[in-house]
Subunit: 378 residues, 2 copies
Amino acid sequence: MVALSAGKNLDLFLDQIKNHQPEAVALADKNLLPQLKERLDTVSKNGTLFNPPEVFGGAEGLDIIAGWDHADLVVTGIVGCAGLLPTLSAIRAGKDIALANKETLIAAGPVVLPELKKSGSRLLPADSEHSAIFQCLQGTPWAENARLSTGIPTPGLTGIILTASGGAFRDWAAEDLSKATVADATSHPNWSMGRKITVDSATLMNKGLEVIEAHYLFGIDYDQIDIVIHPQSIIHSMIELNDSSVLAQLGWPDMKLPILYCLSWPSRIETPWRKLNLPEISKLTFNSPDTDKYPCMELAFAAGKAGGTMPAVLNASNEEAVAQFLEEKIHFLEIPKLIEFVCDLHRNNLIKSPSLSDVLEVDKWARLAVQDKIKKGL
Amino acid sequence: MVALSAGKNLDLFLDQIKNHQPEAVALADKNLLPQLKERLDTVSKNGTLFNPPEVFGGAEGLDIIAGWDHADLVVTGIVGCAGLLPTLSAIRAGKDIALANKETLIAAGPVVLPELKKSGSRLLPADSEHSAIFQCLQGTPWAENARLSTGIPTPGLTGIILTASGGAFRDWAAEDLSKATVADATSHPNWSMGRKITVDSATLMNKGLEVIEAHYLFGIDYDQIDIVIHPQSIIHSMIELNDSSVLAQLGWPDMKLPILYCLSWPSRIETPWRKLNLPEISKLTFNSPDTDKYPCMELAFAAGKAGGTMPAVLNASNEEAVAQFLEEKIHFLEIPKLIEFVCDLHRNNLIKSPSLSDVLEVDKWARLAVQDKIKKGL
């Protein structure tokens, strides 16, 4: 560990710095920088920090440590468009990326792909579905770089099957969703995640966003990506090969493994984690998602196929709509309606090959468009 | 296709020769050799065979074509110890082997492993379970030759999970098995196979034999191999890695795919075969096998752990016992009893590092020992 960043949680950050003794740190919230420096001074003096790190602040600080000379791999876990800039800095510096920031590909795919090609930096997926696909692809006979392709089709890969838990409402009738409360939507049956992502899981937008990410990451057509509801979340996703063979990666639902695999790839690191026990689980079930019940899924496929800035608009309008839902400003079923409305509004202004500033601009615009529509009435 | 062999079915053999126009052919049944030559003459004269092949006969003939100069890969599908000799000839000639003859590893593992090491010939598994494991192992980070190891442990491979359909009696109560008839035991729910193998599937001895084969093929300890009953036969087997990740290969139950993979490995060949559809299958179930109901499984683990000539005795006594059952000379539950009796009888004569003739000798002895025990009364 050579560099570390944080937002504003100084207590946790100080613990991490003491544990990992990095060469450099960056704090996103510049206002807290004097406080951080003071506390680092104290721990240096009392001997719990042997080599005080260089300290940077703000977006520039994140950029600096993302391209830090001694780093081989950069884990980008900053949420939202704020994570996009440091991720791009790391890509431009030729670092391999453990990708946990989804905007990098979903919103900025058309910007990021050429940069990856230029610098040779590689994206290692940190979420469980794409990690499963990535793990399965290691077993395909195609060239090493095709397994890491970002945007380059893998020959012989004929399909990707993304599994979805089905989220909080998988056992609800479609007609009951109009009554869904924030409490209902934020209790996930399998995975322990943040509130925003848990709502995305209830709308199945999380899976729609993963479809777009898979398209960019593995260079596969949207028509070759399928979503299957698999309530037990044991098969984390599958690939289908040209001879009809299907490979799958399985495990307990736990984010630790895909993150570890980013760090250990192309090798693996031994862990004492609980072994999968299929007789204990007893059964794995599968069904096709109900497109009427989950309109977000289709909106995501449509935005992906439209390409250009449309996935950025989809992502931003979804984030804003979910935020409004979490504040109880709109009903659950109004989330897809708002996204559809804003995507439709963007259709004539779609930029096919956007620049980074185009992406950041439509992101802002889409959020305001959602707020505006709510004000004017749905 | 450069060489072809057959037992005694001349009509089928002639069709195959016309279709594939091999350089050489071998017929196991020497008595039919004049007939074959006459019919080959006829089809040569009438123009349906352009390049008449060289013709060989008997065990020597099989040996000659198994090491045929122009062959890169030899598919060894001859059943029983009769398949052992030509397989060894092919190994000694340094050919890669698509292995469908199970005696090669189960009975003659200790003889074959050093020969493989010497000649560099590689074993590609043609049955669905070992093919699944082999396909999954391609995705491991360990050296190319470890993925093809025969007897060499694969670092990082911590477990193999062999799936079993559960065979004809999976839904029978253990106490009803005493009434099982030949008709009951020879109707397999998922796979269309010969009568002998279908009975092995009903006793779960097929899985026990696969455990021994997996041990030799992948160089893994018996304690690291698990059997899981999976009635749908969709997951063909799994591997467990040192970081707790599990990889699986899935597909419809059809032998065509594993055989094709032997031929296409390390690449894959496109097929128009039906794609797997998990929502259509709806559920996959798993349970631990009942060791009281399936004593053959434990007998196989014990024989494997004993090593040397014991697996050859297990295999031969099982074949003889099943043959006697198919002729209605013994009851279904007497199959494991006979095997256990003969294995016990062999224990003091076990040869740790047997020669090929030792293996062939104990094979004959075990068959006679089964017959003898039946004569003397069980």
